[in-house]
Symmetry: C2
Subunit: 454 residues, 2 copies
């Protein structure tokens, strides 16, 4: 029987042809090719998802999960003969549990929606990957990170449990409303970050934190990147528990302030000599303590060689952080051909950036960037129209990061666009093990083929 | 060729017969039977470990890793025809990296040794499972937890990377000196908590925190457990970020204070009516802020129904926490037949304890306990000499915990002694998936057979 007819038996909302619109054929990955899927299904229930997967495994039909489509590595780009499972209608916050400090969400819930719901309970889901329109399902699939990871960690650290459907249609529940468990292999953590290749997440149990009322933002220009990276471990050691430690190079800062029309009060005399900026955000439940912490941080930054320290007014701080979070769009709007999110040990940042200044010119590629300095997570925008030269640049950058003890992607995932570098550069033994794990979940190989692994 | 002869070719220190002494045949699990292994090897290098594992896979010989032997579930009990790989000679702190806030350790390093080394750098490895003589390798294998998990999480949250040897002898390096990664499946987190059944860890990269100088301990007696569990989420929400939220029932408190000769200043009039105690530990880098936080916590506890609040002097606080950490030994010394470390959502603690009061008498089993109230992690000591009745009690307790959304083990692991309940009570689909994952790592089934899975 035709797969379309059978799909309609297990899920109410099935689209094909023109209805499986172009919107379902791409994410935000730069330079990736749009692929229109054969079918788009929009389930409302876990049972519907299970039915679709059962059929897909039987018929060996590729399946690609889709949240908000805001991914940056092409993990939501389907196969032409495949099914897109769009979670846009499984978008309910099922519960905010104030006693266990947990939210239970469906995969289509956006960060904005979750933030609104947690605020009412005085709680917060503290992962801010930079796009509040992103879905929690996508965040779980890519192990999304963001600026606040230096204090709170990444998505992985806040996923306590999952409901997930295996390609065979089996529904698993992993973990629960608790932090501690030593009861078998951690299937939750294995599924987090697996980019839709092991199982489809239909529900996530997320750890919440108390929402902290007061925060403040400091901007410290430094003469060079080494000044920034030397300062970072000292700020972390200080016990001030910074929420954000963000590095912005002078080019990105110029672009951000220009695009966002953002006067930061940095005099020309300083700006002309500042090659690197450090943004420090602090938070405290108590306003007086926050003021004292800001003063301490300011003194520490000065001692550590900051050319000056500016405490940004709330509006400017918000705009700066928004503009930084929006750096991807800024890069795209000025014609970047790719963006990467490589991670290195944070003390290796200067060494990595030195390598960047060598690798770019070697391939005639212009590279500008900023980074989550507290995490060694470097965001670079690459400008190179020639596909081969771009690929050579990417390969060298990733190899340099790995050589320094880092990894290809800190938070965007490998998807389709970074996979080939991973398969090329990573230890073959590790890749073989990952393939065997993939096989343990997905013997028919229907979940997001071509993503992460081949 | 004889396996003993071949072992001697790949590892310097091989023991057999009487030399493979009884010490290598057990851990601290109550009621578990000592099994003397055929061989004990004590490698000094990863190469030696790889050589042993290669031989074991070739010859289908069971291998059991051993750290300090302080496990409570029998995961370090070997097979009679098997090899014990004791990590006692791979016991170096390889590096304290103050810039990346990381320690790199061999598996035989104890928590005490790591604590001494990190102190010098103003840093701390904040996981305190209660036995400072435990090895990091064992901590990683069981995903050890402890009292401070309510603030800092468990072992899993502090393991950034591993060097691990697969049963085939392949050496893998996973993760690194960074928190963020979205680069393939998280092999690190899969190996953590796998109780020596997937790979042998030969090096761990651990995340450190700034060492906080000042702490204080409050003791709050409540009329009943519900008072304690109601107070816990409010203490967490308060933003005071308690380091420890520990529940101690009146029987355990009596045993602890008696055993440790520990006067806590609780007058008889209060003690007679207090069925449940909450221990709250706070920390702050600033002594004045700590004092203010102690005052705030005291008011909050009073508002929440504490019969009184005692700020314990440093010596008494330390002794109380030590005695609580030592509760296992206390239980053993008074003849407990088993101890469990079940976890439930913390709001489900009163419901669980109600079930405990029904389950114990139903099987003529005396059950006393205390717990990590902030985590819903309940430690119970069971007194029942009849093996069948004990097993029936355990089964009912675990089933009750799972029914309330919890899990069998919060931090001790399943090992040999809790495995049968896991296999009996857990979703067969999940167990089948775990078996397939096991197969992906260990096709010959040589790593700790009989532990966690059959």
């Amino acid at each position: 029987m035709d797969i379309g007819v059978r799909l309609a038996e297990v899920v109410e909302d099935v689209r094909t042809g023109a209805e499986a619109a172009d919107d379902y054929g791409h994410d935000e990955a730069l330079g990736a090719v749009l692929v229109r899927p054969a079918y788009v299904v929009r389930p409302r229930t876990t049972d519907e998802v299970a039915g679709v997967l059962r059929l897909a495994t039987e018929g060996r039909v590729p399946v690609t999960a889709r949240g908000s489509g805001s991914g940056l590595s092409g993990a939501a780009i389907p196969s032409a003969d495949g099914i897109v499972v769009s979670f846009e209608r499984m978008n309910s916050v099922l519960e905010i549990d104030p006693d266990n400090h947990v939210a239970v969400v469906q995969p289509g819930v956006t960060l904005t929606e979750l933030d609104e719901r947690t605020a009412g309970a005085g709680l917060v889901y503290p992962v801010y990957p930079g796009n509040m329109g992103a879905s929690l399902g996508g965040n779980v699939a890519t192990n999304a990170g963001g600026m606040r990871a230096v204090k709170y960690g990444v998505t992985r650290h806040h996923v306590l449990g999952l409901e997930a459907v295996l390609p065979t249609g089996e529904v698993l529940r992993t973990g629960g409303r608790y932090v501690k468990s030593s009861t078998g292999y951690d299937l939750t953590q294995l599924i987090v970050g697996s980019e839709g290749t092991l199982a489809l997440v239909t529900e996530a149990t997320l750890k919440l934190q108390p929402r902290v009322r007061h925060n403040a933002t400091l901007l410290a220009p430094f003469r060079d990147l080494a000044g920034v990276t030397d300062a970072v471990p000292k700020l972390v050691s200080s016990g001030l528990a910074p929420l954000v430690l963000e590095y912005i190079d002078f080019l990105t800062m110029a672009a951000i302030t220009h695009t966002a029309d953002l006067p930061l009060g940095v005099p020309d005399s300083v700006r002309e000599k500042a090659l690197a900026y450090l943004v420090v955000m602090l938070e405290n439940r108590d306003a007086d303590r926050l003021d004292a912490d800001v003063a301490t941080a300011g003194e520490l930054l000065s001692d550590l060689g900051a050319m000056d320290v500016y405490v940004l007014p709330g509006g400017a701080a918000r705009k700066l952080v928004e503009a930084r979070e929006n750096a991807f769009n800024t890069a795209r709007s000025v014609g970047a051909d790719d963006v990467i999110d490589t991670v290195v040990p944070r003390a290796a940042l200067p060494a990595f950036m030195t390598r960047v200044t060598e690798i770019g010119p070697a391939h005639d590629t212009v590279i500008v960037g900023c980074g989550h300095a507290g995490d060694g997570n470097v965001h670079l925008a690459l400008f190179q129209k020639d596909a081969d030269k771009l690929a050579a640049t990417l390969r060298d950058l990733f190899a340099a990061a790995m050589d320094l003890g880092g990894a290809i992607s800190g938070e965007h995932g490998l998807g389709r666009t970074k996979k080939k570098y991973f398969l090329d550069l990573e230890d073959p033994g590790k890749i073989a093990l990952m393939r065997r794990i993939k096989q343990a979940f997905d013997p028919a190989g229907v979940l997001n083929p071509g993503v992460l692994l081949d």
